[in-house]
Subunit: 652 residues, 3 copies
């Protein structure tokens, strides 16, 4: 189903009725409202004005549309900041206060803000909790966006000290857990502990990891209390949150999602491609500048589905150029339709477009809408019409669960470790993980994302691109699982406190494959070397481990100097070097064949999602592509010939 | 005529007489003094010492030279800073105080400094206002240099709040004008308004634009009061100011110049080329590293002439290597002469060299002078001698007005809009404007710069490279004008408050050409595409608009995908993409032919200024060049054969 | 002899005995301990705990090993910071406090810290000064590391004002010495003087130079008092300090070393190569990424030997990958041995490896040790065994002095001048000096480093790559010396206060060679030009001087435009441009031949150290190399055929 993000407070009230009428024409079913409207709801402290919102909901409801109500807590109004200046967060890189004037100007450790945010949430929940037009709630907006998980405030420091006391119990335990004997950092009291910022040189990795765990917990505490209040007053309504890409939250996404009914994602393929693939050469980048990378949205979709282990919503879908990339191209015609179907293919139940009409003022006035600011229809309108019609005719059950035998093992803590202990400046955790993901997708495999806490018993292939901290519990699950488990370099080397594994890296993984890492090196990105597998050459780059093992372990690939680079023992593979996606594609093809997983070598920029009874095919490329569907294929959209940016769906 | 910048206080008094004698030998007529000498004039608060200055003026006057007196306000002394620490400005990017120890360490919003600066100005004006040797005054020095227009101080904040109250009248008007409903930024009182700095993410564009207007007004208030005081005590003397390049003032240059008798410019071709053309490849850059770009000084000259609509002075002319570029080459022999004549050609009445003798100490000791610090003569000396002799023999009236039928429409507000709303990180307003300028100059056209407030009725060709805010008044003038008007991309899209034009971009320009922009995209600089015009291919890059129009509008050029890129309707052309100077040269040639403007395709690096009765030709190149003068040409300098870095002037 | 850095406090006490037993097996003689252990020695203010240290020393001593005791002052504990927060230094680039959480978090201008550091030093010195197992002391650790010489604190400002008063006597002298008349910077009182940081634009060079002299003096004051206290209580023990590369101390290294018995150096070839040669293309860099640049360690060794004019120790020798480069490769097998012998060749008496066993926790857990954290032996162990055996069999006297007839004239003040007055952003003093050094080394010449205060009478060739301030005393020494003196560009141009030489650059050097510099230019690094010498072409780049001289001076090399680039008069050569190492190799070969210095053109990446009775040959290359030894050569290590990364030593 389809929906829309709407800001009635931005437009003259006399436009509302026609807006809603047109929403119906476009086949939209859901309208998200009230996000960011705190100053309109409560223009002065305690003086509420909900009349406008009541009327807006009435107009929407009268057309049979369902409302998603938002808490407006991402934008506390100025009068509130002036009353409690400690709401403002502090930049951890400079120590300066991050002021009012944009959004997300709050510190998760400000008790004043915690109380005020819960107050406005409760006021809203009490007023609208049982409103029949409101089907569900969105908490806050894009939590953690703009690097707001971490604050360097005094509030944060005091809260961190209390967190440390709860986590470690007594100061000697903390000293021992961290290894503060190093560089005379021993503490006598929790009140001595500073935030690990603005020091002379790099701070203690265990201290850093604790700070990140704490900051994540602060976000979750805030978010969970908001959910609790909504649920207390809004029975039988769903509660969701619109996530930014999981890599940008700096929060344990699985824990953040835990108490939600389902997870939503804000999908901006071009803005994200601009930022994430900034390092790409123009030759690589240009083909995707108006389509987005074929796998980046899917990567987010599959992660989003992973954190709540069920289907998800797209709460905001890019409808045209945005304003926040370094450069902001226009989508190729057809891409808004393609992105919508891509979301459905990966498990979206609802796709809402952001936003109804381009705002004529303020920071996002260059961000496209479904309608232009003069109320004319943009290109997105016509593509959404097509999606509306195709949804109706194709009759696909978007609530059917996505099933696969392949999963990537992920978790924010892996990213934290690699950010805290760089060792090589060019190591980028998200790029490492994405390389494994795209390799699997190029083989047509559908990918789940699981944390080490998840049930892994149903998978045939588990891939852990970077899992520095591997607890015994996960090892036990691997032993019990039927899956072939592939570990990338840097896995298993650390304890839960970010010390070195006492038995040498890869630590507990040695229980699955008896190898030890005798040294680890990092290499300049322009000084790559070669490695060989099946008589073909691939890049070995950035991070390289020296692995040593007994004869029972098989050498799969070798470095340029003949030493082993990839090793396998029974159902476990250990890849000791960062390598290119070409190697991963070729190696996963071999492994998949062994596991009986169907792989398909797709033309460049064509992607497939095989959900058993229904198969989706996408052409991200600028050329027409053909593929061969099975005999029994019943095309409900398109055909075996895919125009550029085209979609085909068949049932069987 | 020629002049010099002189700092008698830097040298033993016994050297003065000989210095002045040599100035006379060199044909200098004007001596600028007293700049930066506050601590010498007033060593302690209220204890004045003008004896040295009296004597210095006497020595200069006794040789028949004229003095330009400066207010020393660019360098408040330490005792004053210690008395009023709030004089120091605050860095808007970091929030830290910008301390004493260099120059321009004052905040335009410090009332203490305003009062003190006007006090010393009045003391000076009263003492020297009617001194017969003093022909005129220079205010301050290079106002706004070192990014000092903007301050993040508490003083600035309070002054900005008062400015907002004056500008908007009441807070509801401000809320409406800005669109503060977005992201809950509604204000209840002017005292809530912060400076738009140091926020969590980007601040509100209307808020930003108001802050820039305010900051500009603060500079002008300061400067206008200084002029008023000087005029009150210095009858019949001119008042001028030495501008840095207009793009660097962050001030409305037309308003800043309004109360001056004429405008002066500090011309440093190599330093400016080093900074402005930093992005150039070495192949492009190297030919100009010791000459400067052939059009950059002219660009500044024509802008300088534009802001006061009359001829100007060069108050500081580079005589050799400077010290403040990233790299500081030595001018090719001949360039000091060439630059001098180039200034005269573009409307300079006087060229003063900076400085007489290289300072042996302090920050500028590596900045060349006409004489070296050991009192020997530098290369510049001999070139100035040549200019002196040529001026005498060529007998050119430097006060004759520069006339042309071509103008570029400019204004600092255009730059503000593009800096506030980047949309594409690679968009650089000055480079955009300069590309149009150099294209016109390569065709031999003389160019005026006008603001939208100027009379445009005399021009045949008006070029607006980037004019986001187009008020109705300017549209009316365009309708009434005879000129062909060419708009570059990004024009007309914004209201005066930096909101989106309600009728879509290009807003009011639609009254001149009926087209609408349906989407705008920005592109990575390394992902350029092609556009075609008259069967030739050109670059389309960085910024590209999707234009839609009826059949009455003519397509002039097309994007690579066949959509229109440049359109024309009657006397209006709209260029929807940033393109290369090659396209502009070729297109302006066609337009000029139609308008009956004489164009001449010059050899690369040769430039011509045709002022009717006198024609100047310059060879910026490293090769000898020939050109063909008309039959009636009477060469007063040089000939039709130009050596490298050579000048020719003929009358007719 | 060999030694080790050991941190018994990081390990269970029951491991100590076996550790010491294995150290003996490995042939180690010295054990450095107690560095960074303040919080272990004094867990709370005044509560000392030395029992653990007593026991550790006992264990070490019982095996016959000698102890080097460290003062733990590089890491003041948290309780001390909390008692005296003014211990923390202030970042000179941002003005923010540099907090606790890493190391070196102290301000050399904090009197509280000065007193506390001397207190703990005295406590230690009294307790262990006459302990029979302790042969010597190390002061602090890597003074100045992490840019800690400079602080922007209030303490530093007050101390700087007092320093200025002592240095200049009265404020008028300071005003005159600096030239504060420029830009109205005249002071009336020393209390007005700020630190030259955080100003609006560049601060006064003389002010800057004074601040650097002051900061250097603060470091030396601190260090000298520490030495004094140790000596008072530790008779007949040596005192040394472990230096980082001389270029990174921002301190007068000759003065810092003056009161030490000898100087030690911490040798990390790969980390240093990663940082210092970051600008190298991958083609140039990759061959050295696992070996280090063949001359970088030698460059440091020779500088280290220079500052105390005697042989030195390596206090920390890299044994494997480190953790602090941008990228951290693994040494090629053989390099730990090669580096050890390279150190002995250049005058090391003892080489201590850092560290015994890889730490399992904290910031350096990825820094290799001789043993891995699981107590297994790393590659370094086996290479040290080989060094142990070779030392025993080769029987080389490491205490024999290194003698040579060639010296480079160096000094931190040269670096200060080039950092203060950049003039060209690409000028890098260390790279300039290193280029001269590597050219001499490629000819097989052994190089001393001397300051202008040193005796230079014994040298035949003196090379001053960059000596901006040349006092008369040094000129007199040059006149008296027999040596050919070669000056690089930028030499002699400045007075001792960083003003311009009144007789023009090269100032006093004109007494040795009668030439004047008429102009100086700097050039973009990508806009190099050519110069010619002996009909061959070389690069002239970055910094180029226009030199003028009488016919008695000989032109050695010419710029591309035919003007002189290198000139010679009698025994003095002046090189007026930055040039490439190829020119320097070729020119030094000519000069050396004239001086009767034996040079040898070595294969690329082969280096030789000829100490007369013993000759060391090193192959840094990845290919086998052959060289020809003299007939009388008696190989004690290796042969005329050098495997990759191999060493040969012969006696004669």
């Amino acid at each position: 189903m389809l929906g829309i993000c709407y800001y009635p407070e931005h437009w003259p009230e006399e436009m509302w009725a026609n807006d809603v009428k047109e929403m119906c024409e476009l086949g939209l079913k859901y309208v998200r409202i009230a996000e960011f409207a705190w100053s309109k709801m409560e223009p002065r402290e305690g003086q509420y004005d909900f009349a406008w919102l009541d009327r807006a909901i009435d107009v929407i409801a009268s057309a049979g549309l369902k409302v998603i109500m938002c808490t407006p807590t991402a934008t506390p109004p100025k009068w509130l900041i002036d009353k409690y200046p400690d709401i403002l967060p502090v930049d951890v890189n400079t120590g300066t206060v991050r002021g009012f004037g944009s959004r997300r100007h709050y510190d998760f450790s400000s008790e004043n803000y915690f109380n005020e945010a819960m107050r406005i949430t409760e006021v809203l929940a009490k007023r609208y909790g049982e409103h029949p037009a409101i089907c569900g709630w969105q908490t806050d907006n894009e939590i953690a966006c703009h690097d707001t998980t971490h604050s360097g405030s005094e509030n944060a420091k005091v809260a961190f000290q209390a967190w440390c006391e709860r986590y470690y119990g007594d100061i000697d335990s903390l000293n021992k857990a961290w290894g503060t004997i190093f560089w005379s950092m021993e503490y006598q009291d929790f009140s001595q502990i500073e935030l690990p910022i603005l020091a002379v040189t790099e701070t203690h990795p265990s201290h850093n990891l604790a700070y990140r765990r704490f900051s994540s917990d602060q976000v979750i505490r805030f978010h969970d209390e908001m959910i609790r209040i909504i649920r207390a007053h809004a029975p039988d309504r769903f509660v969701t949150h619109n996530f930014i890409p999981m890599v940008d939250t700096q929060t344990d996404n699985y824990a953040l999602a835990k108490n939600l009914d389902f997870v939503s994602y804000d999908n901006y393929p071009l803005g994200r491609t601009d930022l994430f693939f900034e390092h790409m050469s123009p030759e690589e980048f240009k083909p995707y500048m108006r389509t987005g990378h074929p796998d980046f949205s899917s990567y987010s979709f599959d992660q989003t589905r992973g954190v709540s282990k069920k289907n998800f919503w797209i709460m905001e879908q890019q409808p045209g150029p945005v304003n926040w990339g370094h450069h902001n191209p226009r989508p190729e015609n057809g891409m808004v339709r393609l992105w919508s179907w891509q979301a459905f293919a990966h498990g979206a139940e609802v796709v809402c477009y952001f936003r109804w009409r381009q705002a004529p003022f303020a920071q996002e006035q260059m961000h496209a809408g479904v309608k232009r600011n003069d109320n004319s229809k943009s290109q997105a309108w016509y593509e959404i019409e097509q999606v509306r019609d195709e949804l109706a005719s194709a009759n696909i059950d978007t609530s059917a669960p996505v099933k696969t035998r392949v999963a990537i093992v992920t978790g924010t803590i892996n990213q934290w470790v690699t950010e805290i202990e760089r060792q090589g400046d060019s190591y980028n955790h998200q790029q490492v993980e994405f390389t494994y993901y795209t390799a699997l997708r190029q083989l047509g495999l559908t990918v789940d994302f699981v944390s080490t806490d998840c049930d892994i018993s149903t998978y045939d292939l588990l891939v852990a691109p970077c899992l520095p901290i591997v607890e015994q519990g996960f090892i036990d699950k691997c032993k019990a699982a039927k899956a072939h488990v592939v570990f990338g370099p840097r896995s298993g080397g650390k304890t839960s406190e970010l010390s070195l594994a006492s038995q040498l890296p890869p630590g507990n993984i040695q229980q699955l494959i008896p190898l030890k890492i005798h040294s680890t090196e990092t290499i300049r990105p322009d000084c790559s070397e070669l490695m060989s597998f099946n008589d073909r050459q691939y890049d070995s780059k950035l991070w390289r481990e020296e692995i040593v093992f007994p004869e029972t372990v098989m050498t799969i690939a070798k470095y340029h100097d003949g030493r082993p680079a990839v090793a396998r023992f029974e159902n476990t593979t250990y890849i000791a070097s960062l390598t290119c996606e070409n190697f991963l594609v070729d190696y996963f093809e071999v492994v998949a064949a062994e596991l009986g997983l169907d792989v398909v070598k797709l033309p460049k920029d064509v992607r497939i999602v095989d959900r058993g009874s229904v198969v989706f095919v996408f052409n991200y490329g600028h050329q027409e592509q053909r593929f061969t569907a099975p005999q029994e294929a019943n095309f409900v959209i398109g055909s075996e010939v895919l125009a550029p940016f085209d979609v085909a769906v068949y049932k069987r």
